[in-house]
Every structure is written in C-alpha cells, then in structure tokens.
C-alpha cells in the first residue's frame, strides 16, 4: 500500500516540477528581456526614428509600421472571418461542400508562416504586382490569421442558444434579420476576444512580412499602402543578425524586443480580461 502512495508522490512531484519549469521558462524570458531592455526605454525611444546607423535614436517607424500592418490584417481577416463563420453556423446545410470548406480552413490553419511568406511574395508582391508593400503584407497577415478568427467566431456563434433563433423566426422575422439582430450581437464578445488573440499574433509575426512588406530602413513614414515599412519583429531580427553593428545596437535590440513583447502581451491580456468579464456577466 505504501508503495502505491510512494509512486503517487513521485508522479505528483514530476507534475509539479513540470508546472514549475514552464513557469520559470516564461518568467526567465520576461525577466531577461525586461532587465536588459528597460534602460533603453524612454519617450524618445518610442517617438523618434533611429539615427547613427541604428545605434542611437528610437524605433518609432517600426512601431508605426507594425500598427499599419496589424490594422491591415484586421481589415482583411475580421470581416472575412466573421462572414465565413456566419455561413458555416447559420446558413450551411450538412454536405460535401461544407465539409470541404471546413477541411480547407483546417489545412490553412496548419500552413507554416514562412510558407505564407512565400505565398505572399509569389502572389501579391510579384503576380499582382503590388510590390513589397503594406498592402501585400496586410493581405498575407490577414489570411494567416483568418482560420483563428473563423474558429473563434464559430465558437461564439454556436454558443448563442438555439431557442433565441427559434423565437425570432417564429415571429416572422427573416433569417438574415435574426442573424443580424439576435445572433451576432450576442456572439460579439466571443468573436472579439478570439479575434484579439489572432491580432496579437499578426503583430508579432516576422516570416510573412519578411519578403512582402518589411524593410530594414525607410527614410520616411509610409505615405500609401504601396510603400514598404519598418516593423518591430523584423527590426529585431535584422538588428540582431544582419545589422552592421550587432554589438553596438544590442541595447536597442533588447529595447525593441521589450516593446514588441509589451505590445503583444498587452493585446493578449486585454483579450483575457474581456473574456473573464464577459463570463461573469453572461446575460443568459
């Protein structure tokens, strides 16, 4: 009998150790980034462009570029994603076509980000002749996060009770109006939280924008969607691997990483908080 309990305590220790290791990993990463990066952060760092071949100055253009790319990704991914989810949950009849669409979405979700980058390069940059631009980058990022948004929206729509739809339809309200006035408003919070996580991902991705939108240095801020931009993830990558002055720019690299992490984790935390709030205040 004692042997059984001994085995159990060994197991439980392993389990707790795993939890601890994982937490330490996160903690360690955040700690090192913060520790090495915070001294570089200043108002100037965020609002001024780089100078002296990136060894001094700020990263403002990269922040702006990331904002533009992320907004672009949202503009493309969110409406398409919600519309796809609405079709799949509200209008689709079971059958081969619907199954094919769902398989397609699953496959799309599994495509590696570098392959998305190749796609963006081959199709948007070269074939459609958009060139390396905010447009090409946003399209690539938008399609990258599309499956995430579809998944979150589908879940949110499914969680709206069927009885609401029945009640609305039985009153002689059309299907679209039922969807628009009852289903979507009640699914909105779920759609938003799921989408915010997808947006956080778009902000942090490097491979999809490497060949489609990002430039190491732009002398001025973008004036149109056909311009290239600097971007935070790309800035980190280039400064730390290919810049002319890797050691000297090291503090700036840490600072950029810190800003990027703050932005992405900030976005994620907002989503988590909204989700917790929505759960507590469920209206039905």
């Amino acid at each position: 009998m004692k042997w059984r309990y001994f085995k159990q305590s060994v197991f439980f220790s392993l389990v707790r150790a795993s939890a601890l290791i994982i937490t330490l990993a996160l903690g360690g990463i955040i700690f090192y980034i913060f520790y090495n990066g915070y001294s570089v952060i200043s108002w100037d760092f965020i609002t001024k462009p780089p100078t002296d071949s990136m060894t001094k100055g700020g990263i403002m253009p990269a922040i702006i570029g990331t904002i533009y790319l992320t907004l672009g990704a949202i503009a493309i991914g969110l409406p398409l994603g919600i519309a796809s989810a609405v079709y799949l949950t509200e209008y689709a009849r079971q059958g081969k076509v619907v199954r094919a669409i769902k398989i397609g979405i699953n496959c799309l979700a599994g495509v590696p980000s570098v392959v998305f980058g190749l796609f963006g390069l081959g199709f948007f940059v070269i074939f459609l002749k958009f060139g390396s631009s905010i447009l090409a980058g946003s399209l690539t990022l938008g399609f990258l996060i599309l499956p995430t948004i579809i998944g979150a929206s589908e879940e949110a729509l499914k969680s709206v009770p069927q009885t609401f739809r029945e009640a609305s339809l039985s009153l002689g309200v059309s299907k679209w109006q039922t969807t628009y006035r009852i289903v979507l408003p009640n699914a909105l919070s779920g759609i938003l939280t799921g989408s915010i996580l997808g947006i956080g991902r778009a902000a942090g991705e490097t491979a999809p924008i490497m060949f489609t939108a990002a430039a190491f240095f732009t002398s001025k801020l973008p004036g149109s969607v056909f311009d290239e931009v600097m971007a935070l993830p790309y800035h980190v990558y280039v400064l730390s691997t290919a810049g002319t002055n890797i050691e000297a720019t090291r503090p700036i690299q840490f600072g950029t990483v810190l800003v990027l992490v703050a932005v992405v984790l900030g976005i994620d935390l907002i989503a988590i908080i909204i989700r917790g709030y929505m759960r507590r205040n469920k209206r039905w």
């Binding site: 009849r93 079971q94 009770p161 009885t163 609401f164 739809r165 029945e166 009640a167 609305s168 339809l169 039985s170 009153l171 002689g172 309200v173 059309s174 109006q177 006035r181 009852i182 009640n186 209206r283 039905w284």
Partner: protein, 255 residues
C-alpha cells in the same frame, strides 16, 4: 375528413411528414376551426409537436425533413413553392415549451417583431401595452418595461413570450406545451388568458396534460404514432370517445 361546425381557418389535406426516412405523420386530414381552442393530445412521440411545427413551417429549419400533402391557410397551400415562410409565421405565431425571451428589455422583446416586420406601427407604446394586457402581464411589469426580461420568473417570462407573439397580431396562435415547465399558479393564469384570447384568435395547443385539454379546449384531436385517431368536440372525446384507443389513453391504460 372530420368537419367541425364553424368556419375553418386551417385545413390539412392528406399530410405526411418525414424526418429523413422516418415517417412522423401519416395521412393527416383535418380542419381547424376559427376562434376556437383546439387541443392536440397523445403519448410522447406521437407527432403532435411535429404537426404544430408543420403549421408554421418551423420544421424547415431542420435538415432532411419532407412534407407531403397540402396545408391550406387563407385559401392558399402554405407549402406551395412560391410561398414565403416568413409571411406565414407573421400570421401564425408560436409559443414554445420553455420560455425563451430575448436578452433584451421587456419593452424591446415585444417591439422586436413588429419593428422588423415593418408593420408601420405609429404607437408602439400602445401596442406593447395592449399585448401585455392580453397576456395578463401588464400590471406586473408596467413599471419595469425597460428592465431585462431575463429577470422575470418562469411564469412571467412565458406570458411575456405570449405577449410577444400577440404583438404581431397573428390570426392563429400555436402553443407547444406552454405550461409544462411552469408551476401550478402560472399554469392557471395562462389557462385563463387562453380562454380570453379565443375571442380574437384561433388557438392550437399541444399538451401532455389531459386535464388541461379537458379544461380549456373546445375541440380535441387525439394522435397516436403519427396518425390522427380521433378528432371531435372536447366534451365528446373525454366522456364518450368513438375509438377504443382514445378511450384507453384517456383512462390512462397507456401513457
């Protein structure tokens, strides 16, 4: 074909209904009389709820269902290809077994349907009050119209759903076991209001509760395994039914 005295408002002509391969309703022919309360009774799974949903085409929402035969309302077959189910549902309303108010205010629950149907209501406030009075709910909620409907009790919610359906001014009101989820007091209130409603509406009510059917209905139809066994005045069904099966069910020999 069983014919009642009085004007008929809905007529079923040899109707069959299928869930996929399974036939849930067989050769149903009957006429529903205007401004009367007709009860549909029978054991579980006999098809009475299915029949109700066939009348306002709510079964269209389920994949794989098929309707054969004709159902005439206002002289037209509601299953004709050029008929819009949305129009049907505005004239044939429904109240469900479990109360299902929208997570909106009481006022907005009632005004939702008329607003979207574009009924051109000049005075929505009057319509809301009228509907709530007909559902015997006005006095209880007149001061909390802008509070959420989800805060009401079960019985109040169901009366709200009735008011909501009445706000569309339908000709027929279908009720699918409307009191089976409610306590006896709420049940009694709703039975009372049904009695009052039949002046202006035709009511078809599915119920598991035979005593309820005997209390409130004028006509009763007894179903068994998808077939219409007997359809007659309520008094006759409950005191002197023609078919043995009906009698067995009424006396509780099977449930």
């Amino acid at each position: 074909m069983v014919v009642m005295g009085g004007k008929e408002i809905i007529q079923l002509d040899d109707v069959n209904f299928y869930y996929g391969e399974c036939r849930a309703l067989s050769n149903i022919s009957m006429k529903f009389v205007k401004n009367k309360v007709t009860a549909l009774i029978g054991p579980s799974g006999c098809g009475k709820s299915t029949l109700l949903r066939v009348l306002n085409r709510m079964n269209d929402l389920i994949d794989g269902t098929k309707v054969e035969g004709k159902i005439f309302f206002e002289g037209k077959n509601i299953y004709a290809p050029d008929v819009d189910p949305v129009e049907i549902r505005r004239k044939i309303g429904m109240v469900f077994q479990k109360p299902n108010p929208f997570p909106k205010t009481i006022y907005n629950n009632i005004s939702y349907g008329p607003k979207l149907a574009g009924l051109g209501v000049e005075d929505m406030d009057t319509l809301v009050e009228q509907s709530l009075r007909q559902a015997v709910l006005w006095d209880e909620v007149k001061n909390i119209l802008n509070k959420s409907a989800m805060n009401l009790s079960g019985g109040q919610q169901q009366r709200l759903c009735i008011a909501r359906a009445l706000a569309m001014k339908p000709d027929v009101l279908l009720m699918d076991e409307p009191t089976s989820a409610l306590d006896p007091i709420s049940t009694a209130k709703i039975e009372e209001l049904i009695e009052a409603l039949k002046k202006d509406y035709t009511i078809i009510i599915v119920t598991h509760n035979m005593q309820q059917a005997a209390r409130i209905s004028d006509e009763t139809a007894f179903f068994y395994m998808g077939n219409l066994i007997e359809y007659n005045k309520t008094e006759k069904i409950f005191t002197n039914p023609d078919m043995k099966q009906t009698e067995d069910y009424i006396t509780g020999r099977f449930g």
